[in-house]
């Protein structure tokens, strides 16, 4: 089963995986847009999520082994996936992968640091749109002027529809890319604020 969901709070995300396990869905993997689950016996499973990027495969291997020794099965994650998903296993399962608030909070600071280039990149795009005439509100008021196909608006029927559909993607890229730049800027700024709040809450 695939489920679409998105979380900022890693502890809430882990608790959500635990609730699905109680309904008989065992977490298998995570993609960009959602989570994959396997049908399993309904029961209590404890999940915990860490965030860490590794330089080498040997570093990643050593990390997974330490958790394995301490009673955690590495369910999903890779050397560069950042997010690492663990499930408590064994007769006397551990209840958490963190024993102090500082290490719990350091995950959010690491995510914020790794996503900082997105904020910087979208800020550059938005600034360049704002100052280089990318945002042309006068042209927006007269959308027909945004189309460059000669005589497009005098056409009718199929020739008009074909010409219109053909040029529309180019119009969107040429005249509305700044909307995308500002949306990216908004989303990445919002993310940084959320992560900062979460690191404060946990630490």
């Amino acid at each position: 089963m695939r489920k679409l969901a998105s979380f900022y709070d890693l502890d809430k995300e882990a608790a959500w995986l635990g609730r699905l396990a109680e309904e008989g869905w065992a977490f298998r993997s995570r993609g960009l847009l959602g989570y994959d689950f396997d049908k399993a016996d309904a029961g209590r499973r404890v999940y915990r999520i860490d965030y860490r990027v590794f330089r080498t495969l040997a570093d990643f291997d050593d990390y997974v082994l330490l958790f394995h020794d301490a009673g955690w099965r590495h369910v999903w994650g890779s050397k560069s996936s950042g997010f690492q998903y663990f499930e408590a296993v064994g007769d006397d399962p551990a209840d958490d992968i963190f024993s102090d608030t500082a290490s719990r909070a350091s995950r959010y600071r690491a995510i914020a640091l790794h996503t900082l280039p997105l904020l910087a990149g979208s800020l550059c795009l938005a600034v360049s749109a704002a100052f280089n005439g990318g945002v042309d509100l006068a042209a927006m008021a007269d959308p027909r002027s945004l189309y460059f196909t000669p005589g497009l608006w005098e056409r009718a029927g199929i020739p008009f529809v074909a010409g219109f559909l053909l040029e529309t993607p180019f119009v969107l890229m040429r005249s509305f890319w700044w909307v995308l730049a500002f949306a990216c800027l908004g989303i990445s700024a919002f993310s940084q604020i959320m992560l900062f709040k979460l690191s404060r809450k946990a630490g």
């Binding site: 050593d62 330490l66 958790f67 020794d69 301490a70 963190f98």
Partner: protein, 107 residues
């Protein structure tokens, strides 16, 4: 104390981790030793332990050594780490002595 080492005072977890690494050990062994050395008072979870080893290594207080178990990294305290640990022991001894000498109530 004019110029104190920038890593002082050590946190309780850093202190016990350094103490445990006077003998070479891998991460899980350090977790067990910390619990034992602290009389069960300090119990470090896997993620916290991994982060602590990472930090102590970056600060130059511990280093990796050749390990008998090839896949698990083995660490040991560095000479600088021993120095910092010793300074912290003296700091703690001084605090305890100050508390005892300043009045019976806190003995």
């Amino acid at each position: 104390m004019a110029s104190r080492d920038k890593h002082l005072p050590l946190t309780e977890t850093a202190f016990y981790t350094l103490l445990a690494l006077r003998q070479p050990a891998h991460g899980y062994l350090v977790m067990q030793k910390v619990k034992e050395l602290s009389g069960g008072a300090v119990s470090m979870a896997a993620g916290t332990m991994y982060g602590a080893l990472d930090n102590l290594q970056r600060q130059g207080l511990i280093c990796q050594v050749g390990s008998p178990d090839g896949r698990r990294k083995t660490y040991q305290i560095t000479p600088y780490g021993s120095e910092v640990l010793e300074l912290d022991v003296r700091r703690i001894e001084h605090m305890a002595r100050a508390a005892r000498e300043s009045g019976g109530d806190h003995a």
